[in-house]
């Protein structure tokens, strides 16, 4: 059974149907890419999965459990982490603070403690080293470059120990050297068994990383197959050229 399943998910904003009966799967252990022209409904699909918006109809299951319409933080606790298209780091806080925010407990016990546990700090530093920005740990997040913020956001999601990570345009606006590092780290985490669902416009990235590609256009899923098949399918080209 797939790790994540969307069945007939629909979300409309007023008269605009952003996602219209979308169904697709993310298999456990795989990297699935979600592509499509601007306005295809990719980000809205992401938002329904991660609980930022509640779908009007349809069902979303994660590891066999129905997670449709649950609140964001509950979905994260299920083991599903996400990043945002425009990075949403906590800019006035340090890089390390951004990292450890997720490990803090939700009860008032966190008010009584005065420091962060040493092992949590170590794990945060380890992950910062993994993405290569550990020397920036005590800098405010707002001083980071855009690409570094993408890395920070990725590392911060890893702190929540997710089983599935949703990345919204990890390659967007990132320079080639940093892009290589981001792709490399995604593959390494994937080898450890973590699944990915990635929205991406850069086809080189999609072709290199993904095991499966979902193509959306006008809020609907028009195809889900291997990258090789998708590349040859005329419907995909049509969708991008606005001829569907």
């Amino acid at each position: 059974m797939p790790l994540l399943q969307l069945r007939d998910v629909t979300k409309a904003y007023g008269g605009i149907i952003a996602v219209n009966g979308a169904s697709f799967d993310v298999a456990e252990g795989e990297i699935t890419a979600l592509i499509g022209p601007n306005g295809a409904g990719k980000t809205t699909a992401f938002d329904t999965i991660s609980g930022v918006v509640v779908p009007d109809s349809g069902a979303i299951t994660f590891d066999g459990e129905d997670i449709t319409g649950l609140m964001s933080h509950v979905i994260t606790k299920h083991g599903l982490g996400r990043t945002f298209q425009i990075t949403r780091e906590l800019s006035d806080m340090t890089v390390l603070e951004n990292m450890v925010v997720s490990t803090i407990s939700n009860d008032l016990g966190s008010l009584l403690r005065s420091r962060i546990a040493a092992d949590e700090r170590d794990r945060a530093m380890e992950l910062l080293a993994f993405v290569g920005i550990e020397r920036l740990a005590d800098e405010p997040a707002k001083s980071l470059s855009y690409g570094q913020r993408k890395l920070l956001e990725f590392a911060a999601v890893l702190m929540t120990e997710p089983r599935l990570i949703l990345l919204d345009e990890p390659a967007g606006g990132v320079n080639p050297a940093l892009l290589e590092r981001i792709m490399d780290r995604i593959e390494e985490i994937n080898r450890k068994g973590v699944s990915f669902l990635i929205v991406e416009h850069n086809m080189d990235v999609v072709m290199r990383l993904s095991h499966s590609v979902v193509v959306m256009a006008h809020g609907q899923v028009i195809l889900q197959d291997t990258p090789q098949v998708v590349r040859e399918d005329h419907r995909v080209l049509d969708a991008y050229l606005g001829d569907v």
Binding site: M71, R88, D92, M93, V100, V101, S102, S110, L111
Partner: protein, 318 residues
């Protein structure tokens, strides 16, 4: 001179507590409470009603109170905190959601303060309307020699302000405070990291209101009178001025803001040589100066005299 310093010190400590309460809400969590005076008044009224003896004892026989228990100050203080805690929890629970816009928080809290004020002045049976609660006994009033009571009270206020300062510093540095700051900067991102934003917002709102109510309950026995005219909107403005000019988001801000705005400008200007018309002008100009400073700070130094800094994380001792 000494008397003046004592009074000024009491007022400074008082505003440090109020601004610290607002700091928990606005400075750390980004909740724009525009009705701090409402929660301050609530604390003041509840403690006053618990402490006031029945009208036939005080001698003001026409006064009417919903309750008049004549209990000691500590009971009034605890009652004020409990009632404010309940009221703040209900307001927070209704108002604060993961995606509540700051403007809504501002409007609703402002409305709360206004409603409370109107309730007090129109419903005389509650707390004697315009005339307020008169004849509250000063705690330990018979022990402390007449005339030195202000000095005794200064010590009480400074100790209370120090405790509140320590508490805000602790919250600021605690993991809990880190989540609050995260929520202030991006609620959706913090929710995506697995935090119940609503719960954190409500608890921070309640904590802030409790500190505001504490100030109210401390104020009651000092002035011995709780009357509506003490809780005008200008108090809300002063608390905000102290917090913003001092620096929101760190515990030192309200302390520095209190010393500068209340100590130096509001109280210090009493030393200006002034008689007759000029004296009256000084009183009015005080508000103008504080208002002007407020605007200038918002425009040119929005982080205040003591700007918040990103904190380095120290490891927990093993």
């Amino acid at each position: 001179m000494i008397d003046f310093l004592v009074t000024a010190g009491i007022l400074v400590a008082f505003f440090v507590i109020l601004a610290s309460g607002l700091n928990l809400q606005w400075g750390l969590t980004g909740l724009a409470n525009l009705g701090p005076v409402g929660f301050f008044a609530l604390g003041s009224y509840v403690s006053g009603l618990v402490m006031i003896p029945p009208p036939e004892v005080t001698g003001f026989v026409t006064d009417t109170f919903v309750i008049s228990l004549g209990l000691p100050w500590p009971v009034g203080l605890v009652a004020a905190l409990i009632v404010t805690g309940v009221v703040a929890t209900v307001i927070g629970w209704m108002l604060l959601r993961t995606d509540t816009a700051p403007l809504f928080v501002a409007v609703i809290t402002l409305a709360f303060a206004e409603i409370f004020f109107l309730l007090i002045i129109t419903q005389k049976w509650l707390a004697n309307g315009f005339n307020g609660i008169r004849g509250i006994d000063r705690p330990l009033g018979n022990l402390v020699e007449f005339g030195t009571y202000e000095r005794f009270f200064l010590v009480v206020m400074v100790v209370a302000a120090a405790l509140v300062f320590w508490f805000v510093r602790h919250v600021e540095a605690s993991p809990y405070g880190r989540v609050l700051k995260g929520i202030r900067e991006d609620p959706a991102a913090v929710a995506a990291l697995g935090h119940d934003v609503r719960r954190f917002r409500i608890s921070a709102f309640v904590l802030g209101c409790l500190v505001l109510a504490l100030a109210g309950a401390l104020w009651t026995p000092f002035v011995t009178v709780v009357e509506p005219s003490a809780f005008g909107t200008e108090q809300t403005f002063l608390v905000w001025a102290v917090l913003i000019i001092g620096g929101a988001g760190n515990a030192w801000g309200p302390l520095v803001g209190g010393l500068v705005i209340i100590g130096l400008i509001q109280q210090g200007t009493r030393f200006l040589p002034a008689t007759g018309e000029i004296a009256e002008l000084t009183v009015r100009l005080r508000g103008v100066v504080i208002g002007l400073l407020f605007i200038l700070f918002l425009r040119f130094r929005p982080k205040g005299l003591v700007p918040e800094r990103a904190r380095r994380i120290l490891p927990e001792d093993p």
